[in-house]
């Protein structure tokens, strides 16, 4: 499925300075019963966001009107645990297009890239600067440039680069799809398959 192109994003950000945010927090298992990719944003961080009677928990960032934007900034080891792509879907469906952290769990990072959410990994020091910038001014804007592979704190002009492999970068900036790529080398795959006895 082709997805939105990603080139440059300029936005305010929502801070979540917690480490080891696992995908069970991002979307609890009981919300994985859908058979279509729809509406997962409503249950993003469900149990941190709502009380058991479904009233919003006032101290959770997504319930603070002062924070908004298309960038989610999380603590170290973001997205650990379950492989559920629903976690990336929930992040996307809520409206985020980029997650910034100082470290991502592998599967979550891959899932994000596969649906057009950019996981931008920065140093722990730079992550702290981003949190500080939001703390100082919740309306502070950030620029995430995939073309330049760079995150900039616009208020101070400080920036840092992030890694992404060339193939994925190309896909994201053009909205290309992995499966189309593979279907184009189908002949090669079939040939390989016949050489495998298993």
């Amino acid at each position: 499925m082709a997805y939105d192109k990603f080139t440059t994003l300029t936005s305010t950000a929502v801070p979540l300075p917690i480490e080891n945010v696992d995908t069970d927090q991002i979307i609890p298992a009981r919300f994985l019963k859908a058979t279509e990719r729809k509406g997962f944003g409503d249950n993003l961080f469900r149990d941190w966001r709502y009380n058991q009677d479904n009233s919003p928990k006032e101290d959770f960032v997504l319930n603070h009107s002062k924070y908004s934007g298309k960038i989610l900034v999380g603590g170290k080891n973001f997205g650990s645990g379950s492989s559920r792509e629903h976690a990336a879907w929930a992040v996307y469906d809520y409206g985020f297009r980029c997650v910034i952290s100082s470290f991502f769990a592998d599967i979550f990072r891959g899932n994000c890239l596969n649906i057009g959410v950019l996981p931008a990994q920065v140093s722990a020091e730079f992550l702290q600067k981003i949190f500080t910038a939001i703390d100082t001014d919740p309306n502070a804007k950030f620029e995430v440039s995939l073309i330049e592979q760079k995150v900039t704190i616009l208020a101070t002009g400080e920036s840092e680069s992030f890694d992404i492999n060339h193939y994925k970068k190309d896909n994201m900036t053009n909205g290309f799809d992995d499966i189309d790529y593979l279907l184009n080398i189908k002949g090669k795959i079939q040939e390989f398959a016949t050489s495998r006895p298993l």
Binding site: M1, I18, E19, N20, D22, D24, Q25, P28, A29, R30, L32, K33, A34, T35, E36, R37, D47, Q52, G75, K76, N77, S80, G81, S82, S83, R84, E85, H86, A88, F103, A105, D106, I107, G110, N111, N114, I115, N165, H166, Y167, K168, D178, I179, Y181, L182, L183, I185, K186, K188, I189, F192, A193, R196, P197, L198
Partner: protein, 472 residues
């Protein structure tokens, strides 16, 4: 290219169909396991593209994540769950994939049935939309969990795009103490590495402890590789492996077996092969483990006290938040804490050896009145063995009931949810906030620790009860 290779390199390199410049490898997948929760959107994707499953004969579907563990003969009550199961069945039929649904004699947790029927083989590449796919690495396979977009990719092309992970070897020497199980070994390793210590790596487990471990034990250890962030974990196949797989339904037979054996016997790490990281631990120092926090890395020897925030690496505020959720204090002892639930099951510890271990402790004792116990076999095959070996009688005499197979309280998608605030000793793999139900509090441990808790109603060192048996 150098002639010396790690086990991981041998298997990986032999599956590379295509290399994308400055990008991931295109890896051929020998076995694709599918379940009801992470597949519907992938099948929908195929439909939208108007394409078929490329290799239905390499694809196997089972229903497990979202199934009830009682009254499986009745229609599934929850309409959303019922719909997911129906979709899987329809998709399997539509695309000619073998499907072991609810009530099927081969039904069970995807990572339990794969090995049971010989779908899991050494040197194979195996993926599934579930992170604990790493289980199958116990056979010397490269096995890892994938997301739904990747499920669609494998259905459509039998390949996956993956950057090649780095190589780590974890060597555990010596002999395990009495009462220390493979689960303890795994929880120990994770406590040493933390939940992100192996991110970006594929792990090979080596050393005497793994050499002497049964296949089921190896599966438990490889299963938990993901909990330290690793892409997967694997163990070189040996006589124990070959003995386990021989004669199973989907394993090669006759000449094909001999040919496969020739290949499998080359699957080991060459003596001077290079790892990006190597770690060694002394297995004799490992104690029965228990977790006290909200990630699997927060574990310790069962008799230790909960570390204080200044003793742990990483953020003190995250650590304190975690203990606050668990309603524990820094410095607390875990021994003696009253518990409410016990869960024996999951793809980590839902196999016959786990039930044997559990039964060895509860035999001749009674379930504590304050404890609700869910004993959930990993598959129908495990369930049958429990009955045939007389374990069911031991469990029944001790006041326990056996449920029907499935993932159950491992992820609490069905009705098996630990209520808010309640404390559970679980043999599964994750103690995240709310993993076993909103507000639930989970202590991860081995089947022996779970059994000791089930009969005493509190956290208990199982060795105390084992000595009694030995003495008696």
């Amino acid at each position: 290219m150098s002639a010396t290779k790690t086990l991981f390199d041998k298997v990986w390199d032999s599956h590379v169909v295509h290399q994308i410049e400055n990008g991931p490898d295109v890896l051929f997948i020998d076995r694709h396991m599918v379940h009801e929760v992470t597949s519907p959107v992938a099948f929908l994707g195929l439909k939208n593209r108007g394409i078929r499953v490329m290799h239905p004969e390499k694809t196997f579907a089972t229903a497990d994540h979202n199934t009830p563990t009682i009254n499986q003969h009745l229609p599934v009550a929850d309409p959303l769950s019922a719909n997911q199961l129906k979709m899987l069945e329809e998709n399997a039929n539509e695309y000619g994939i073998s499907y072991w649904g609810l009530g099927h004699e081969k039904n069970g947790i995807v990572h339990v049935v794969g090995p049971e029927y010989g779908i899991t083989l050494p040197g194979a590449t195996i993926v599934c939309g579930d992170s604990h796919t790493s289980t199958h690495g116990a056979f010397g396979a490269i096995a890892f969990g994938i997301g739904t977009s990747e499920v669609e990719m494998v259905l459509a092309t039998q390949c996956i795009m993956q950057p090649k992970p780095k190589r780590m070897r974890i060597n555990i020497t010596g002999e395990l103490q009495y009462g220390v199980t493979p689960k303890d070994v795994a929880l120990f390793i994770i406590s040493q590495l933390t939940t992100s210590g192996a991110t970006g790596y594929f792990v090979e487990y080596a050393g005497d402890v793994f050499k002497n471990m049964t296949m089921e034990g190896r599966m438990t250890v490889c299963n938990l590789s993901i909990e330290m962030g690793a892409r997967g974990g694997m163990i070189a196949p040996d006589e124990t492996t070959f003995h386990y797989i021989k004669g199973r339904e989907f394993t090669p037979k006759g000449e094909a077996w001999d040919k496969a054996m020739d290949y499998w016997q080359t699957l080991y790490t060459d003596p001077d092969a290079i790892f990006d990281k190597k770690l060694t631990f002394d297995g004799s120092l490992i104690e029965p483990m228990i977790t006290y926090g909200t990630n699997p890395g927060m574990g310790m020897g069962i008799k230790n006290d909960i570390p204080t925030a200044d003793m742990v690496q990483g953020g003190a505020s995250t650590y304190k938040k975690s203990l606050q959720y668990m309603k524990f204090d820094e410095g607390d002892s875990m021994i003696g804490k009253p518990i409410d639930f016990v869960f024996l099951g999951s793809c980590t510890n839902g196999r016959i050896e786990d039930f044997r271990a559990f039964a060895s402790i509860v035999k001749g004792r009674k379930k504590a009145d304050n404890v609700t116990a869910w004993l959930v076999p990993g598959s129908h095959k495990v369930e049958s063995a429990i009955k045939e070996e007389g374990i069911l009688d031991i469990l029944t005499d001790a006041g326990f009931e056996l449920r029907e197979p499935g993932c159950s309280a491992c992820l609490a998608m069905n009705d098996d949810k630990v209520p808010p605030g309640k404390l559970a000793v679980s043999t599964s793999n994750r103690n995240f906030e709310g993993r076993q139900g909103p507000g639930s509090r989970t202590l991860l441990a081995s089947p022996l620790v779970a059994a000791a808790a089930a009969v005493t109603g509190k956290v208990t060192d199982p060795r105390e009860l084992m000595h009694e048996i030995v003495a008696g």
